[in-house]
């Protein structure tokens, strides 16, 4: 099915380290731009620290706004890592190889963005984050109310962040050694330290492989736990309408995979465009991720449909009022149509065509659309919910995000892009050893008249 270009080791080293050992032309400019956006966002945060949460558009009863939307969005994106590197690794999907690291790094930085978006800037007293985000006294139970989903959240996110960081580090070791061997002076010393004395002995390779597989297996519970817990931030509540639903956990998880895998596809296209790695990320890879996305998107759409069925089945007045707001009231109605089109009805039909799945532009546009749609999905769940179209019609709310909030949302996006760019300058975004392993796995030798695989996969 797949055409393979066999590349020799030298060429792999040269091409995949082009971002690290040389400076791509576009890199300084792009980094400077996102750095400026990030700093502007930090200034906005500083302004909010100084003046109070009043500088946002939040009010009573819309107490949760853009920050929460962003939190859920980034946690969703972070599901890319676990899907690509753990699930696809354990199912031995060959096409994962060039994207595992990019997916994991995306996970690490989007989890940090999520931590930035909710616990740090969302609350009234961010300087107390150490008391509950990084609970120092779990054992004494003085500060922590473990019944609160806001305690489960940081625990789940921190677990995931730790696991993903370990993933990235373990997979980096052989590549760091390659860079060490090709650099001089201080850089060489730095990489020598970072690669922890990697010599490429059989024992080291074995340990590294075992660590990777163990991490993949151990991290599997996180696959369901993280976004379930995020969904319970909402599902445990009886205040806002339409949140108190048991479907929320699986619905959020599959939505997270939808947005996460799409984000990985976007990154794949960018890697071809920016670093020119078209020998490594081929149309076959895009084809494979496109087919995976059709299944994920359709499952997600099924859950979305179920959520609506469960909501409308009771025919309760507040629930109906909230749904009416979501679907028929301007501007929510416009956003709702946009959300349906971008999250499902434009991208999925596109992926059904083989030519479009194999086209860089088509995959880039469709996966960006998915993430626009998935951002809107969270927005349409959270904001109309908090507007409280309940029985107390005297108190119905409305919400307009302020400039400060928008800047801080932009800050989280800038942070993720900045993180990826900085990472790509210091470490190779495509795992060299993994590519070489694949090449070896595809080597063929002649036995008599027959050509057979040189190695057998266990």
């Amino acid at each position: 099915m797949q055409e393979h270009v066999q590349l020799d080791q030298k060429q792999i080293n040269k091409e995949l380290l082009n971002g690290v050992l040389q400076m791509p032309k576009w890199w300084p400019g792009a980094t400077a731009v996102v750095l400026v956006i990030f700093i502007v966002g930090l200034c906005a945060f500083g302004y909010m620290l100084n003046k109070g949460v009043g500088v946002t558009g939040l009010n009573r009863p819309v107490y949760w706004g853009f920050f929460m939307v962003n939190f859920v969005f980034w946690i969703g994106i972070s599901h890319a890592g676990i899907m690509i590197s753990a699930i696809l690794r354990l199912t031995q999907a060959e096409w994962r190889r060039p994207v595992t690291r990019a997916a994991e790094v995306l996970t690490v930085f989007s989890l940090m963005a999520a931590l930035m978006a909710a616990p740090l800037v969302h609350v009234g007293r961010p300087w107390r984050a150490d008391l509950w985000v990084f609970p120092y006294d779990f054992a004494r139970g003085v500060w922590i109310n473990i019944r609160s989903p806001f305690i489960w959240d940081p625990s789940a996110v921190m677990t995931y962040l730790t696991a993903s960081t370990l993933f990235v580090l373990v997979a980096l070791l052989p590549d760091l050694a390659i860079i060490r061997d090709r650099s001089k002076g201080f850089t060489r010393v730095a990489y020598s330290v970072m690669c922890l004395g990697w010599r490429g002995t059989p024992r080291q390779w074995k340990l590294q492989a075992v660590a990777g597989i163990l991490l993949s297996a151990l991290v599997l519970p996180v696959f369901v736990s993280v976004h379930s817990i995020v969904s319970w931030d909402f599902a445990v509540q009886i205040g806002p309408e339409a949140w108190h639903s048991t479907i929320f956990a699986p619905y959020f998880i599959i939505g997270a995979i939808h947005s996460g895998v799409s984000a990985v596809a976007t990154v794949m296209v960018l890697m071809v465009w920016l670093w020119g790695w078209k020998n490594y990320i081929t149309p076959d890879h895009l084809d494979a991720i496109g087919r995976l996305l059709i299944i994920v998107a359709t499952t997600w759409f099924f859950f979305f449909f179920l959520e609506w069925v469960f909501a409308l089945y009771s025919l309760e007045a507040p629930e109906l009022a909230m749904r009416d707001l979501q679907v028929f009231q301007w501007p929510w109605s416009g956003l709702f149509v946009l959300f349906l089109l971008t999250a499902f009805f434009i991208p999925v039909p596109m992926w059904l065509f083989r030519n479009l799945r194999r086209s860089l532009w088509a995959m880039f546009i469709s996966t960006i659309l998915v993430n626009v749609g998935m951002w809107l999905e969270r927005f349409l769940i959270i904001i109309p919910g908090t507007m409280r179209r309940g029985h107390m019609i005297f108190d119905w709310g409305s919400y307009h995000p302020s400039l400060i909030e928008i800047l801080m949302v932009a800050m989280t996006f800038a942070w993720v892009i900045l993180g990826m760019l900085l990472f790509s300058k210091v470490f190779p975004l495509i795992p060299l050893f993994d590519i070489k392993e694949a090449m070896v796995g595809r080597d063929e030798i002649k036995v008599g008249r027959k050509t057979v695989p040189a190695s057998i996969r266990e």
Partner: protein
């Protein structure tokens, strides 16, 4: 002795919507002045508010009032969701907010079906001329934390302490025990007292009115929050005719 369980009865039939309770609460509890600007931002703080609903079509239109304050739910949705125990249930049946613990996640406010929890979006401020009027018994809340009706816990504390020192029980319905809103109400709409004391006015009223022919109901009862505020519904003389028409 089972201890106290403070509760309130609100006779909606008597409410004339004068907002005296709102002003009294504002003064007693050091609530910053709700300026027009704050109302436009939808961030006004009113621990007790009068909700006004219009009923009927012009010209036959009626204003209906209902005072809404923290219901001090026995099974309060705001309590389990707070990550730092800033809100909890005290042994006297009060839903208490600990300002110093609060970190301002606003989770409690989100989960309150009655919308009676308020967030301090700004640092509170008063005109110079009003600073000496602040109540020394009540904390001034800084920005970034939640606040809500306490049933004037400072008044409950002072009157029970004084009563204990003098070796007597707290008098039911005494002015020094009642929250400020109850004292200020000109039409006796609000009643406050110990629901565990069978002789107290609130206990007797709730016993009478929660029966089959009583007017008592709890707000949003179907959510199962078990509020300690009992509402007595309006006696509408025209209700029957309206339903026939």
């Amino acid at each position: 002795m089972a201890g106290e369980k403070w509760g309130m009865v609100i006779d909606v039939d008597k409410c004339i919507g004068c907002q005296a309770c709102v002003v009294a609460c504002q003064a007693e509890n050091n609530i910053p002045i709700n300026t027009e600007d704050l109302y436009n931002q939808r961030r006004a703080v009113q621990w007790i508010r009068i909700e006004r609903y219009w009923e009927g079509e012009f010209p036959d239109v009626k204003a209906r009032f209902i005072p809404v304050l923290c219901q001090h739910c026995s099974d309060a949705p705001c309590e389990p969701v707070c990550p730092v125990f800033a809100t909890y249930h005290n042994p006297e049946g009060l839903n208490v907010q600990v300002y110093n613990r609060c970190i301002g996640t606003r989770f409690c406010a989100n989960n309150c079906p009655y919308h009676v929890r308020f967030f301090n979006f700004w640092e509170p401020s008063w005109p110079e001329s009003l600073k000496n009027q602040l109540n020394p018994d009540v904390t001034v809340r800084s920005r970034g934390i939640m606040e809500k009706c306490t049933f004037c816990i400072q008044r409950i504390r002072r009157s029970t302490r004084d009563a204990k020192a003098e070796g007597r029980g707290v008098e039911d319905g005494a002015r020094e025990l009642n929250p400020a809103c109850v004292n200020a109400c000109p039409t006796d709409t609000l009643f406050f007292g110990d629901l565990n004391d069978p002789d107290s006015k609130v206990a007797r009223m709730s016993a009478e009115e929660t029966g089959e022919h009583g007017r008592g109901y709890h707000m949003l009862e179907e959510l199962g929050t078990e509020p300690n505020v009992l509402y007595l519904k309006k006696v509408d003389k025209n209700a029957k005719e309206a339903s026939h028409a």
